[in-house]
């Protein structure tokens, strides 16, 4: 049986990141976009942890804790914004939020 090497972790991380990006770019519901964003963050976390493990350096794991903390805070703020937006516009679809355009 083959042991999982650094490459395998990185490939999984890349796939997760790509899926997340796809979700951000392609999904229409803001909540799902938000979840995809979390997925991209966790892909980065996975890469950091794997690197840390294989290089024998704990810096990466420390960084991951920070990221999780920041992500939690971000979720709190982001979800609040989405709820507020929904209350104002009665919609959580990205196509309806094109008022940035001139």
């Amino acid at each position: 049986m083959m042991r999982a090497g650094l490459e395998h972790y990185l490939v999984v991380s890349f796939l997760l990141f790509s899926l997340g990006l796809l979700g951000v770019v392609a999904r229409r519901n803001l909540l799902v976009v938000y979840m995809s964003l979390e997925l991209m963050l966790n892909a980065a976390n996975l890469a950091l942890v794997a690197m840390s493990r294989f290089n024998g350096n704990l810096d990466g794991q420390v960084l991951v804790f920070f990221i999780i903390t920041v992500a939690a805070a971000e979720v709190a703020v982001g979800l609040a914004l989405i709820v507020a937006l929904y209350r104002r516009r009665q919609s959580a679809h990205v196509e309806d939020l094109a008022s940035l355009k001139l």
């Binding site: 770019v25 990205v94 008022s99 355009k101 001139l102």
Partner: protein, 624 residues
Amino acid sequence: MMLQHIAWIVLFAPLAAAALIALATRRDDRLSAQISIAASAVAFAGSLILFLAFDRFELAWSWLNVGPLKVDLGFKFDALSGLMLLVVTGVGTAIHVYSFGYMQGDRSFARFFASMSLFMFSMLGIVVSNNLAQMFVFWELVGVSSYLLIGFWYERPAAADASKKAFIANRVGDFGFLLGILMVWGLLGTVRFDELEARLRTDPGAMGAAATVAGLLLFCGAVGKSAQFPLHVWLPDAMEGPTPVSALIHAATMVAAGVFMLCRVFFLLNVPDSSALPVIAWIGGGTGLLAALIAVQQDDIKRILAYSTLSQLGMMVMAVGLGGPGPAMYHLVTHAFFKALLFLGAGSVIHAMHHEQDIWKMGRLSQRLPVTCKTFLIGALALCGVPPFSGFYSKDAILAQGFEHNTWLFLLAVFTAWLTTFYMSRLVIVAFFGGPKSSGAEEAHESPGIMTSPLIFLAVPSVVAGIAGIPGRLSTQFGAAAEGAHGPAGFAALFEPFSHSPLPAFLGLLVFMLGVAAACSFYWGAKEDPLPSKLGWFARAMKDRFYFDEIYSALVRLTQETIATAAAWFDRWILSGLMVRGAHGTTELVGRALRLAQTGNLQTYALLLAFGVAWMLFYALVAR
């Protein structure tokens, strides 16, 4: 105070008069005229004192000192400028007095005298310049005052046009003059005449091969101011000014400035490397012949005299070109007297005929205007070169110069002399003798004393200037070698030309007789000009001044329109089209293209951001 400092009074009295009239007394016609006449007389008296007391001196006041360029406001007094001072102030004073009568009743009487005084100042400035830069400044001032005086009756379109034409033609020449001055300064490092002369005396080849170009550029100034071919067209038109102006500026003094300048810088032209002198001689001779031919078929009394002036100036320039500044200056001086006299006489005739200038409407004026007629005759005889009148001696000096140096130019000059006699005889016979040709001619009255006395005053030097020893005085300036060698004064000078160089002298007399005979046979008792029927198209060409004005205006129109079309094209397509509209168009186009990227859609921005990051990663990791 030293006696020499009278010089400054001579120079600045007319300027003071001009300023005083312009600033204070403009409303008082009589007072203005008196101030102007007084200033002119003071200048004349001062010049006379200087002429009698000194041979040569030089005063200088440093005016401009920029690095290696040092320019003085100088007063150079020597035989050349001394004579010229006397001529300018003497003839000028006579003409000022005459103007007082002639301009009576003009509504800009004071302005006229202010301009005349300004002209006197400028002309004196040229005469006494001790360096080229000062000369150029006054040279331009003379151009300005000439412009003011030709266009004096500016409400007449012809006068306004003539003043502009004169100014522009002069500017063309002056531009060459300025280049010449710069070139001389660049080659020899100074603009002072005495330093230039000393420099060239020790090292005649100092200017090298550029000497010819420098000489011809300096000559350009004389071509403009002395109205030589091809810039001769302005002088006849300048006759639109008041007649005293024509006499003072366009016969006696300003147009002589070109010849004077050539004599002043003769040492620059006469260096071994330079071949400018033959060119000058031929242009002078050609102008002389051309103008004399045109004069034969003119009907306006002032225009005949104007072309005669051109012709005589051509003779002087030719003399300079033949290496004889002495004869040129000699003729300049005598010509100033008798041509001023002729113009003032013509003015008197015009005044008596109530501004009729066509000689074919005059006739038998000898009985109606006795003083004018007699003085005019004296002037005409002097111009034609009859001994003992002054013109004979100076013209003979030029002919002798030609005889010694260039046979072709000599023959050309003799032919011009014959033409001169012919057209002057034509003018005198038609205007003063024969039957009266109009009612105006029968009722003409002699002009008042204030106009006839200057005529008499000018008639005296017109007669005796030939035996007053002018060449002797000039020989101190140019040396006997360049002199043509008429020496003695007084009674001995009376027959000197016949012993010095008999052929030119007798030939001069012969062509005079031939000219008078020809004119008598054609014009005595004639009611209209018989020449056009005899000469056909040639007479018409002479009458139409050989179409120079037409050729020039066509040329100007052609070049101007070509340049204007090219400039318009450049402006429309390059400046306005490519550069102004191009910049605006490019910005707008790029803006429109970039606007497509701004969709307002969050996800597009996210995608673009991702692409950006991917591209930067690719650039940072792979492509490096």
